[in-house]
């Protein structure tokens, strides 16, 4: 009986190993207009190959609900219905924010139309151009319309998220400017010679006007983003697509130049891998702190103690669906904090111990309640935050050195006084005896 249950557990564990390639779950809800559902089959197949289970839902369908009994029903939600203005009651900007709070990852599509999603984008510090102004570029010279642009990822794009040798990506949609939000992760920027404008007619005049005003009011240039991620403080990831056409089969199969297929399919894979927490996912396995030459942690440290702090970090490996020790972080820092960091030290990886980062430092000459703080926030990567509170106390009454060389005159003074007292007493008492004996003779002598 027991062994049978164990085998069952093992089988379940193996099944989950094979199934889930994301670190958070493999259920995906795709919200898409029924008539466009078949346009994205290459994107769906890529997700299915990775082991995701797709559920489709039209924007106005009531079921399946995205949140049921305050629990997120799906681990990831993709909204490809970028031109839909009316969604079902449970897909609103507010409910999408609630999904983020429940650590659900989202891929959201924008379009030139004014939709609920477009009104949500400013909450993520993405500033959209006026409705009806897609991204346009007349370079490079090509047969396609100026609003369908091949974009080659540059070194300013998210090189850690995207494949190294990604062919140009076909894009059609709206760009956005970035607000001042540190949680944004720009994934793909617009080409330098592109701008947002109405496609048909009059655009040249508008351009001339804008150019005369020194570029004011012109949505142009490589500062604009077209695909941008956002990682919330709880680790949930959102990716905003400037246009969902990026994911279509048509653009995935279209050639960018003779014989070279576009990078759209690979780009979609990369973006989904990042958004669904397959890549750039780290976690803190455990932390340790102890005195130098000790093994276990102390509950209380003394001022000026030599302390050792170690942290173990793992990275998620989507190929094996396991967490592997990761020593690749070069800029990890440890802070020993009481209100302010009293000590801030680098936390280098320990050679020969995978995933372990360790440092040794002297506790400050200040007692109080301190915290070991590791706070590592880098664009695209999971945020690492660890805070451990330890009290630092002054030495105990018997923890100080007892006899100091500086005080030897005082010790000598006290000891010599005592010796002199004993000597004095001895001689005094001896004199008493002699005095008594010789009193008669002495008296005779003097008188």
């Amino acid at each position: 009986m027991f062994s049978f249950r164990r085998v069952l557990f093992l089988a379940a564990g193996l099944a989950s190993l094979v199934g889930a390639k994301s670190s958070t779950g493999n259920s995906v809800l795709v919200v898409v207009e029924p008539k466009r559902q078949d346009d994205f089959s290459i994107f769906y197949d890529g997700l299915r190959d990775q082991g995701y289970e797709l559920t489709f839902r039209a924007p106005k369908d009531e079921s399946p609900p995205v949140i049921e009994y305050d629990e997120a029903k799906f681990a990831h939600v993709v909204i490809l219905a970028s031109e839909t203005k009316n969604f079902a009651k449970d897909i609103t900007p507010q409910s999408l924010i609630s999904l983020l709070d429940l650590e659900t990852n989202l891929i959201l599509g924008l379009s030139t139309k004014q939709t609920p999603l477009a009104s949500l984008a400013p909450e993520f510090s993405l500033i959209l151009p006026p409705p009806g102004t897609p991204l346009i570029s007349y370079f490079p010279k090509r047969e396609e319309s100026p609003s369908l642009i091949p974009i080659t990822p540059s070194k300013y794009d998210a090189t850690e998220i995207l494949n190294k040798d990604l062919p140009p990506v076909w894009f059609s949609g709206v760009p956005h400017a970035f607000g001042n939000n540190p949680l944004l992760v720009p994934i793909l920027h617009a080409p330098a010679e592109s701008f947002a404008s109405e496609v048909d007619g009059g655009s040249a005049d508008a351009l001339v006007d804008a150019a005369e005003k020194g570029g004011e009011g012109l949505w142009a240039g490589s500062q604009l983003g077209i695909v941008t991620g956002f990682q919330a403080l709880n680790g949930a990831r959102v990716t905003w697509l400037g246009g969902v056409d990026l994911l279509t089969d048509e653009l995935a199969q279209r050639e960018v130049s003779n014989g070279v297929k576009s990078g759209n399919a690979q780009f979609a894979r990369n973006v989904a891998a990042w958004t669904f927490k397959e890549s750039l996912v780290l976690r803190i396995d455990k932390i340790e702190h102890h005195l130098v030459n000790a093994t276990g942690p102390n509950e209380v440290y003394t001022t000026n103690d030599q302390l050792v702090y170690s942290i173990y970090i793992s990275k998620y490996d989507p190929q094996k669906a396991t967490w592997e020790p990761y020593s690749g972080i070069k800029d990890l820092q440890l802070e020993f904090t009481m209100l302010d960091p009293h000590i801030r030290s680098s936390l280098p990886p320990v050679p020969g111990a995978p995933g372990k980062y360790s440092t040794t430092f002297r506790a400050p000459d200040r007692h109080g309640v301190f915290k070991f703080v590791v706070d590592w926030k880098r664009k695209g990567w999971t945020y690492l935050h660890s805070s451990t509170t330890v009290p630092v106390v002054p030495p105990r009454h018997d923890g100080y050195p007892r006899f100091l060389s500086a005080a030897w005159p005082y010790y000598a003074g006290a000891i010599s006084t005592s010796m002199a007292f004993f000597l004095f007493s001895a001689i005094w008492l001896a004199g008493e005896v002699q005095h008594g004996n010789k009193r008669a003779g002495k008296a005779g002598k003097t008188e």
């Binding site: 003074g413 006290a414 001689i427």
Partner: protein, 121 residues
């Protein structure tokens, strides 16, 4: 005595000191002189410790307090012993015999040193 004092005051200061010294030597019993030697030693020791404290360091302060107060306390006890065993003060300390005075001195000193060593380290 009075004419002698008048004579020495009219002479140079060194004469005054020598005559004071001579008078002390002549008029003080050996036992009182012995106490005076002890008092002198304690005074020197106290001065040295105080000078060290001021000029070098008062750290650790408790050691300074212990060492210095041991000399001062011992000085006070020895001085009271001296006044009690001095034959000239016999009228004042009628009920205190010299033996009783020494016993008080010894007991007081032992208590003093007990506190000093407690405070020293």
């Amino acid at each position: 005595m009075p004419p002698k004092a008048v004579h020495s005051s009219s002479a140079s200061p060194t004469d005054a000191f020598t005559s004071l010294w001579k008078a002390y030597n002549d008029n003080t019993s050996n036992r009182l002189k012995f106490i005076d030697v002890f008092l002198f030693f304690l005074m020197l020791s106290g001065i040295v410790q105080f000078a060290y404290c001021v000029l070098v360091t008062n750290f650790p302060y408790n050691a300074f307090l212990a060492g210095f107060s041991s000399t001062v306390g011992q000085f006070v006890l020895a001085a009271s012993l001296r006044s009690q065993v001095n034959p000239e003060n016999k009228d004042e300390f009628r009920e205190v015999s010299p033996e009783r005075a020494f016993a008080d001195f010894a007991l007081g000193s032992i208590v003093l040193h007990f506190f000093v060593y407690n405070f020293l380290g």
